[in-house]
Symmetry: C2
Subunit: 313 residues, 2 copies
């Protein structure tokens, strides 16, 4: 079957990060930069911050937003969740056995203030600088994890899934999570392994059809083995992204992260935007039959974000 052979070879040539080998897990060196340009005094973050992002694969920034801006975002996020209670839209995920809204995808299309936030120079401008390109939104969502019963989310690299199931070619995307509640280690704050973004863990296993239907709740395919995670944690340690509401957590697409469950009364919520470089727009999935739905991964010709400056409200 020469045609199939050709296709496979051609696809292999363009795949910088092969993954989901049914037989084995492997570690590969990252072939892409993390910060795609040299720092200058025109950059929207300090030289120290750029160096830290390059080294650690994340940055935790406090005091970027005013009290008024945070209050407006928090109250409008709550309104959005109430308005969508019981919705059966694919972009809205509710708690099992309840109408309470846990996740709202396509956040910037549902709400003017969130649209404004998604274009803000404090998020999208930093992403442009880090990626040295115009950016567009690959995925966005409002997350809400309740107190008392918040479930854990297991360790993974986002890029592994975006590459395998969405067709994101290279590591040239960054996530921005703006905290809408106080996050502490004991209420399930994001945990990151600093420096883990420099290694691509090519995961073992084949992608099942419509994997996303279960992987958004409990990810089983596309996660490193316990042995790899133990080694990575030993090499890199684990940092808790703690901070008050208003803290911005920026992390590289390949930084290994996860979060514990939460029995405290305090919920966790954030507005989450993934910025991808326009030059890194999606191809066909590298390790799945069909691409995931559009609300999980925006396909087609990307429209670059026009940055906005000034206060949100």
């Amino acid at each position: 079957m020469p045609l199939e052979y050709d296709v496979l070879e051609s696809s292999a040539q363009t795949d910088a990060y092969p993954t989901r080998d049914p037989e084995k897990e492997t570690w590969r060196e990252r072939v892409d930069p993390t910060v795609w340009q040299d720092w200058t005094d025109q950059a929207p973050i300090s030289r120290g911050q750029a160096d830290a992002f390059d080294r650690d694969g994340f940055l935790v920034l406090e005091d970027l937003f005013s009290t008024d801006e945070i209050a407006a975002l928090v109250s409008q996020a709550a309104e959005l969740r109430s308005a969508l209670e019981g919705s059966d839209a694919a972009e809205v995920v509710t708690e099992p056995g309840s109408d309470a809204v846990r996740t709202v995808f396509n956040l910037e299309t549902r709400h003017d203030l969130m649209a404004r936030l998604s274009r803000d120079v404090r998020l999208a401008g930093i992403a442009q600088f880090l990626l040295n390109d115009e950016v567009y939104i690959h995925q966005s969502r409002l997350n809400y994890k309740p107190g008392f019963t918040g479930k854990e989310f297991y360790w993974h690299s986002d890029f592994e899934t975006w590459h395998a199931e969405d067709g994101m070619p290279r590591m040239r995307a960054v996530s921005a999570s703006l905290l809408l509640t106080d996050n502490r280690a004991h209420n399930g704050a994001l945990m990151l392994m600093p420096g883990s973004h420099k290694t691509f863990v090519s995961c073992q296993g084949e992608t099942p059809d419509a994997n996303y239907e279960t992987s958004l709740k409990t990810q089983k395919i596309g996660t490193p083995s316990q042995e790899s995670l133990r080694d990575l944690a030993q090499m890199h340690g684990i940092t808790d992204a703690e901070g008050p509401a208003g803290t911005l957590v920026l992390f590289d697409c390949n930084t290994i992260h996860g979060s514990n469950g939460n029995i405290t009364p305090d919920p966790r919520s954030n507005a989450f935007f993934v910025y991808n470089a326009v030059s890194n727009a999606l191809a066909d999935p590298f390790a799945a039959e069909e691409p995931r739905p559009d609300h999980l991964a925006h396909r087609g010709t990307p429209s670059p974000i026009k940055l906005r400056t000034g206060a949100l409200v």
Copy 2:
């Protein structure tokens, strides 16, 4: 039925902490002291530590044990777990779907070093001071919570269960947990609500027969409502009992505590001894038909611990 009426009345008269009302939850003031005697310079802890225990209902003490003592305890705990792998003894609890040992009850009867530890002045001597009485072991166990898959344990007061199901009359018991691994908020360290020990949350609900068979895994009866927990956390905050292996966590029998699940690779383990005042020996259960088995609550005439001083090894 005058006899039954008499029995009920007599039991009600001696019950300082009624609980498990099927109709309602109530808050009652603690009628017992926390520290049962005035501090003197003969005490095994400082005045500041005694005051903190009285105020908060717990103490976290580092550097009480030498590196050699901790190393011996850690290695012998691991040996004990290996030796009991796959055991079907009632005092040994294994991981669901595995032979790995999660809990070993009656710890001091299974191992000389653990017996020695249980009598050590650094544990039992502090308990004697706090309770102003001779003490005996109400319950003891070795706990081991694996990494990656460690499950949460929900908020509760131990005394509520010990009173309802074991017949412990008054709040005159203290738990000593000696950490055998590093404990951090993000690997599920014990969380305590400082000051919560001054309130008795009389829980709603009836005790099912053999409640302990499931409550040791997931406690449903004998836990405060979410509303109470939210109020208590608001009033008191939540403290993480963090520390390296060798840290001793002492907490009052009525301090509200719990622990989150743990997806980090780092397991948590501790040697756990509950010291009860000899004058507070168990009566019939206050809110259960039958007392729990002896490995969960030692019944009969208590034999006071003879304190031991000096190094463990």
